[in-house]
């Protein structure tokens, strides 16, 4: 049993919603425990300045940002070194999923706003960002799922929340494309023996598989329910 009453391999309750912003090309929202994260996608669009163009593929830009009110103590709004590193690893986690060759000389912007943070925000951010990319209609090889695992009170557990991350012995965020069977992000801090490392990795991958199912359901909720009559109604409302 854990601090918040979960079993070792139990994830926090997750709520996913797709298409939640008016202006963004694609957007998604995730609640995972107390985490609340909003992601908006702009692009593929023209790159400014133009020297940012890549001749053979789209440039992907990613910003992970924590809102000043997202944590116990106010977070200084200036980008911290942590946020800069996380923006980089999230971009690198999503790059392999996007078929960027379809949109040379353009840029795809990924904006991740962590509105409330309670541990595991880079993973939750990746989960929502991948949904938002799908919502923007950007071709992808596969959804990217993400989940962390680690060690708390000597026990290997998955999906650590803030207190477990702070007082636990290890935390390992992993991003995974389940159907391709490949890891696109892995980081770890703390201390794990080889056996514990392997157990934690398997647990994180299992969490990713569960979350992928939730991602697919969220996309279906947004798009599958759209029957012909609903489409007709939407079009007539837009034309009013």
């Amino acid at each position: 049993m854990r601090l918040d009453g979960r079993r070792p391999d139990e994830l926090r309750p997750i709520k996913l919603e797709v298409g939640v912003l008016e202006n963004a090309y694609g957007s998604a929202y995730i609640e995972q425990g107390k985490n609340r994260i909003l992601v908006g996608i702009y692009g593929p669009r023209e790159a400014h300045p133009k020297h940012m163009f890549l001749p053979d593929r789209a440039t992907i830009r990613c910003r992970y940002r924590m809102a000043p009110f997202s944590t116990e103590e106010r977070k200084n709004p200036a980008p911290s070194r942590r946020e800069i590193e996380i923006s980089k690893v999230i971009r690198e986690a999503l790059e392999p999923s996007v078929i960027s060759e379809y949109y040379p000389r353009t840029v795809i912007d990924i904006f991740i706003e962590a509105l409330q943070c309670d541990g595991g925000t880079r993973c939750a951010g990746i989960v929502a960002a991948s949904l938002a990319l799908a919502d923007a209609g950007i071709p992808m090889r596969e959804l990217v799922s993400a989940c962390s695992a680690g060690k708390v009170d000597g026990q290997v557990v998955s999906d650590l929340f803030d207190l477990e991350d702070k007082y636990g012995q290890a935390d390992m965020p992993v991003a995974f494309m389940p159907n391709l069977g490949v890891i696109t992000l892995i980081q770890m801090d703390g201390g794990l023996s080889k056996q514990e490392f392997e157990k934690a990795l398997d647990m994180a991958l299992d969490g990713c598989r569960q979350i992928r199912n939730l991602q697919v359901e969220a996309l279906k909720r947004r798009y599958q329910a759209t029957t012909d009559t609903e489409v007709a109604r939407d079009i007539s409302e837009e034309n009013k």
Binding site: R82, E85, S87, G190
Partner: protein, 270 residues
């Protein structure tokens, strides 16, 4: 904001031959896939620093200086000294390094070195507290890249570790909450010796200690930090590629074996 980098400047013929060799378990410079380049570690080369070391790893050259100064503790760790790591990719080290504040690569480098040192509890920060909540020692680890020949993470961490082992600070007494220095000097209290092993994935092959050309040809980078008791203390994946879970597990196994040899080397030099 993190942006897809420009394609590295490497000729197609070199890139292809690196890939073809990698598929056969071979490398440009004749090394095996689990061999490091020649490592040279010189400790104590900057007299004005409390500790220093220079590591030459093939064509890569990194200098690390340690300064120990008085300062305030963090509010959440009032009884501990502070460790801060900074890295500069100086423009003299590579044509692709630019002037200006540290970019995401410099920040990632510093944070991965920091993660190795911090998570293994390499420096005994508990013994660097002077007045709890008020006054502690701050250990500044400053990494200066002098020549970029690939695998900066490993070279920088080895240099940082050697420099910390080489660090001398004045012995002190505490009188009325003030620090009074004595003439004698003492080493920095150290607990652990974390050693990262960095892999490049080229094609389907994982190789340790990539040189610059190999880094320019790799799809993915993976760093596994191992501490004294063969435990994993830090992991970082970099690059725009992907890894199979079994590749990660294999890398951990290799890193555990490799780190033992490297640790002996660093301890002997420092």
């Amino acid at each position: 904001m993190s942006t897809t980098p420009q394609i590295p400047v490497i000729t197609r013929i070199e890139r292809n031959s690196i890939h073809e060799l990698a598929a056969k378990g071979l490398r440009l410079d004749g090394r095996g896939i689990l061999d490091y380049r020649e490592i040279k570690i010189e400790a104590g080369i900057i007299e004005k620093a409390n500790g220093s070391a220079q590591v030459t790893l093939g064509k890569t050259r990194v200098m690390v200086g340690i300064k120990v100064e008085l300062g305030d503790p963090f509010p959440d760790t009032p009884n501990e000294g502070v460790l801060t790591v900074n890295a500069e990719l100086t423009p003299l080290a590579s044509p692709v390094f630019e002037l200006g504040p540290p970019g995401e690569n410099a920040i990632e480098l510093a944070r991965v070195v920091d993660r190795n040192l911090r998570e293994s509890k390499a420096v005994d920060l508990g013994r660097l507290c002077i007045v709890p909540g008020k006054k502690v020692f701050i250990v500044f680890v400053d990494i200066n890249i002098l020549d970029h020949g690939g695998n900066l993470i490993d070279a920088s961490t080895y240099a940082a570790l050697a420099a910390l082992l080489n660090t001398k600070m004045n012995e002190f007494e505490i009188k009325d909450d003030e620090v009074v220095y004595k003439d004698s000097r003492q080493p920095l209290p150290m607990n652990n010796y974390p050693v990262p092993v960095t892999f490049a994935k080229i094609g389907k092959t994982l190789m340790v200690d990539p040189c610059l050309k190999e880094e320019e040809s790799m799809s993915t980078r993976l760093t596994v930090g191992i501490e004294n008791e063969d435990c994993v203390c830090a992991v970082q994946k970099g690059g725009m590629g992907e890894l199979d879970p079994n590749e990660v597990k294999a890398a951990v196994e290799i890193a555990i074996t490799k780190s033992r040899e490297l640790r002996t080397l660093i301890k002997e030099a420092a």
